[in-house]
């Protein structure tokens, strides 16, 4: 594969409700920060991928409503409706096609402006299960129970992800919910949809994130701290929840294997220095850890109990605080890529993982992780 690097990143702070900014304002802020970070101007960008969702924005072809704010006039602009990792994947492909040198990928979401239950209920088939009121929380609860019962993972083990990540978030200026809590706090928090409780859940968030990808020629001229793309993998599973065994992250296993093969990684837990994975709910950090091959199937609970995924552990997972600490939908995966870039540059300050050279970023799309995108980056 031709070498492609991330040469710039920009994030807004993630907050429950950003009343002072429109979605376009958030996009402008993230893009401006990414350009400044790369020390280039908008004229150096030759194509743009915007990532948004019409239901969240309450606007048809929402991606085209931010063309002004991302400086895409006169450029080739295309769109992805899905998590930002998938937008970045498309942006990478555009460079690899040889037609473009530098792709700006920007994703935005204002969760505060819509209704999470209504919008995520609309994920499901209107002819069948949408009628029973299924949404992101209740569908994930079905997955959480299936996973926990099949493999004997406990609620307390899942709660550890919430405890760890909310603590990590204290060192991340972009995070929304940072706090010291204990397993009992998670266990005693309000029951939402058994076995998922309030503190097992990510918040509703507003924010935007932008990254700039460049080919080797440009990356070497522009930056001294590139994050090189070593491998990417992408895979999808069945749409219908009942078609899948929700305890088995098959799509993630396939996506990870593709990324590892491309990056030449054989023992992910040993070879990867830091991982940012899409923990929309606490159980997901455990389940996705298994899908990523960080431990054996069913051992995600034991992995987090071992302490090996804390910031000081063998493989720190979500030192940023993860999605549990800020969940701008569509943006959250791109934020994982941005966070890994920060780690590989050694710019993580209080959340920096010592000596991070190889990092993994992960995003999901669709209910209960229907599709996964895995990125391996190297300093």
């Amino acid at each position: 594969m031709e070498r492609v690097a991330i040469i710039g990143i920009g994030q807004t702070k993630y907050e429950r409700e950003k009343r002072g900014e429109t979605s376009a304002d958030l996009v402008f802020e993230a893009v401006t920060k990414a350009l400044n970070d790369a020390k280039i101007g908008i004229e150096d960008i030759d194509n743009v991928v915007t990532v948004s969702n019409d239901f969240w924005d309450g606007r048809t072809i929402s991606s085209m409503a931010v063309t002004d704010a991302c400086g895409s006039y006169g450029k080739n602009v295309s769109t992805v409706e899905g998590d930002g990792t998938f937008g970045a994947f498309y942006g990478l492909m555009r460079i690899l096609s040889g037609s473009f040198r530098s792709t700006l990928v920007v994703s935005h979401c204002k969760g505060s402006e819509g209704s999470n239950h209504l919008i995520t209920n609309a994920i499901f088939n209107p002819i069948y299960e949408r009628a029973i009121g299924l949404d992101s929380i209740s569908s994930s609860a079905l997955q959480a129970r299936r996973y926990m019962e099949k493999y004997g993972v406990t609620e307390e083990q899942c709660a550890l992800a919430s405890v760890k990540n909310h603590k990590n978030a204290k060192d991340n200026p972009f995070s929304q919910i940072a706090m010291d809590i204990c397993v009992e706090d998670v266990m005693n928090s309000k029951a939402l949809s058994d076995p998922i409780k309030l503190l097992d859940s990510s918040p509703i968030s507003d924010g935007a994130c932008a990254i700039i990808l460049a080919d080797e020629w440009m990356a070497k001229r522009v930056t001294t701290r590139p994050a090189w793309v070593k491998g990417v993998g992408h895979s999808a599973d069945a749409y219908n929840l009942g078609d899948r065994d929700l305890a088995e992250p098959d799509a993630l296993i396939r996506a990870a294997q593709k990324a590892y093969d491309m990056a030449g990684i054989q023992e992910p837990f040993r070879e990867i220095d830091v991982a940012e994975i899409y923990d929309a709910f606490s159980y997901q950090e455990l389940l996705w850890s298994e899908g990523l091959g960080f431990c054996e199937r069913g051992k995600g609970g034991r992995l987090i109990e071992s302490g090996k995924t804390t910031k000081e552990g063998m493989l720190p997972i979500n030192p940023s605080g993860g999605v549990l600490s800020a969940h701008p939908v569509l943006v959250a995966g791109l934020a994982r890529i941005a966070e890994i870039t920060i780690q590989l540059r050694g710019e993580g300050n209080g959340r920096q993982v010592d000596g991070a050279k190889i990092g993994l970023a992960h995003g999901i799309n669709g209910a209960c992780g229907q599709a996964h995108c895995v990125w391996i980056l190297e300093s």
């Binding site: 002819i127 209740s138 219908n240």
Partner: protein, 151 residues
Amino acid sequence: MASGEIIYPGKIAVPYEWSVGEYGSRFFYELKENRKIWATRCPRCKKVFIPPRKSCPDCFVHIGDWLEVGPGGNLITFTIVRYSAQTHITSAPFAMGIIQLDGSDTGLVHFIGGVDIEEIRSGMRVKPVFKEERKGNFLDILYFTPLEVTP
């Protein structure tokens, strides 16, 4: 200088007329007229799909075989929904789960009812309870109820 905190409340209400398709129509007709649940079976891998599928996602071939499944089935997983939402047609707390009907290889997501919700367990044998007045849609099944509880 304006504070930038003026909120413009809006609402989108767009009516749709979703086609349930030839297969969906047959599925709902059987629910409505005969209180039966029909599925389709891939001619190649023999996997039985519910809701009925017209093509096999694994073999990528057309499916034309129909068969009746259930009415008994196993509860694969479930949740007790304890929050309120506009999308709910019943007040919380209520239960939903994934049911694998006998003879089917895929699960159906639906309500679990007719039982103390705290007594629900994965692996329970369940069967559908149909509405008296059926309209030919997914809610013609009122819920799935444990076999051992309902005579």
